[in-house]
């Protein structure tokens, strides 16, 4: 299992974190997807100021590669060459690309994995087959990923609460990262079921997060959108700090992560803690930062 985890991590970084691999720009049908063609693109970013010469390995003006994908006019199904209808070609190419991507990911963990064979008699059948293959591969990937996460969990209950907490948080992080839901072989971890399940929540609307405040639920904490400590120190009234507009109910582990972000030094704020940066700022500025922190930590829908 550890070997699977190591392989997976290598594969994951290879597929997702190659700094030279371009991405399809937002607004495109494939927006945000990694793309293998092309050699990088973009222009200098004016947001970054430097007193040194930037690395010019990047090629200004090079295009992202979304339009480099070849869209066929005909496709061979069995022994027949079939003409594609308008719109079919792109759907076929996209379905095939998704299937190939999913197969590549799962084969990094299980090189012998093969999709179930099928016979296609039409273009629509071929598209459905690609979609099914992608689903099969994704399911197998999730299964292997859960095994990888499970490999970090001792079967025996760790003696200290700190150790148990650390493992539970690592499991929660791993499940979010890999998209898994099942951990096997460690019954003691059921104590943390609510905390881990809560951490897997998808982002919610602000209304949903606010409405949830009226009921308590295991695995969740109340969270102040405008950070409480710096607002207290700056003399904002309690009625604002603890008012319904400023309170949301969020997963406890997320609450800890956001609190950690506020309490730790950060390059963004000239090496100060966000909490210190906010001192002296008005309520609107604090609210903006608080909402953005919820969005960026995957709690609030953008």
């Amino acid at each position: 299992l550890l070997d699977i985890e190591a392989k997976h991590r290598t594969a994951w970084h290879r597929s997702h974190f190659n700094p030279n691999q371009p991405r399809v720009p937002a607004g495109n049908p494939d927006g945000g997807q990694w793309t293998s063609a092309g050699g990088g693109g973009g222009t200098s970013d004016p947001r970054v100021v430097s007193d040194v010469t930037p690395d010019n390995a990047w090629k200004p003006g090079a295009r992202y590669a979304t339009d480099a994908r070849r869209v066929p006019a005909r496709v061979r199904i069995g022994k027949q060459s079939v003409e594609l209808e308008p719109g079919q070609a792109l759907r076929l190419v996209e379905a095939e690309a998704r299937a190939q991507d999913a197969i590549a990911r799962v084969r990094e963990l299980d090189p012998s994995w093969r999709p179930r064979p099928s016979a296609d008699e039409s273009v629509e059948g071929l598209i459905r087959t690609h979609e099914t293959v992608a689903q099969q591969a994704q399911a197998r990937f999730r299964e292997l990923a859960s095994l990888a996460v499970s490999s970090h969990v001792p079967r025996q209950r760790p003696p200290t609460a700190q150790e148990r907490h650390d493992i539970a948080r690592e499991v929660a992080r791993g499940l979010v990262k890999y998209g898994g839901h099942v951990i096997e072989g460690a019954s003691w971890l059921f104590e943390y079921d609510a905390l881990i399940e809560a951490y897997l929540d998808p982002p919610k609307t602000l209304d949903e997060l606010r409405q949830a405040v009226s009921t308590s639920k295991k695995g969740y904490d109340l969270h102040h959108i405008v950070e409480k400590t710096s607002a207290d120190e700056d003399g904002f009234p309690k009625s604002m700090i603890n008012g319904p507009d400023n309170l949301v109910r969020i997963p406890r582990f997320k609450h800890w992560e956001i609190t950690g972000w506020y309490m730790t030094k950060n390059e963004d704020y000239e090496w100060r803690r966000p909490r210190d940066y906010l001192r002296g700022k008005d309520w609107a500025e604090r609210t903006g930062v608080g909402l953005e922190a919820l969005i960026r930590h995957g709690v609030l829908k953008p």
Binding site: F17, V52, E267
Partner: protein, 123 residues
């Protein structure tokens, strides 16, 4: 570690030190040890400063850490190289922000927000 000790280290040793510190940071975040994290942050900044002060600004030596398996190491390497390799660093920052590897995805996203607003000015 004292500044003088850092001055006696090779660039490779400084990169190793940076990696060790940021791995410790990840552990500190996992355990809510914020005071410890802040001490480690100062140590990391001293290593970055030493790399910056070397001839030709050696912070580029941190670029290979973009491929490190630990998200905290990657994130801090990216933020440390925004001034010297802005475009690959920005791409990596976006990739981490979209990675679902928390809490680093959260910090990366906030850094993008702060870059957009002109609050974060890498130097």
């Amino acid at each position: 570690m004292k500044r003088k000790n850092l001055q006696n280290m090779t660039v490779d040793q400084l990169v190793e030190r940076f990696t060790a510190i940021t791995l410790d940071q990840d552990r500190a975040l996992l355990r809510n040890e914020h005071a410890r994290f802040n001490r480690l942050f100062d140590e990391m900044e001293a290593v970055k400063q030493e790399l910056k002060d070397r001839a030709g600004d050696q912070r580029r030596a941190l670029l290979p850490l973009y491929d490190h398996p630990n998200a905290q190491v990657r994130l801090k390497a990216v933020k440390a190289t925004l001034a010297v390799a802005p475009e690959p660093a920005l791409r990596m920052l976006k990739a981490i922000a979209e990675s679902r590897e928390y809490p680093q995805a959260g910090e990366a996203g906030m850094s993008l927000y702060n870059l957009d607003r002109g609050i974060f000015k890498p130097t």
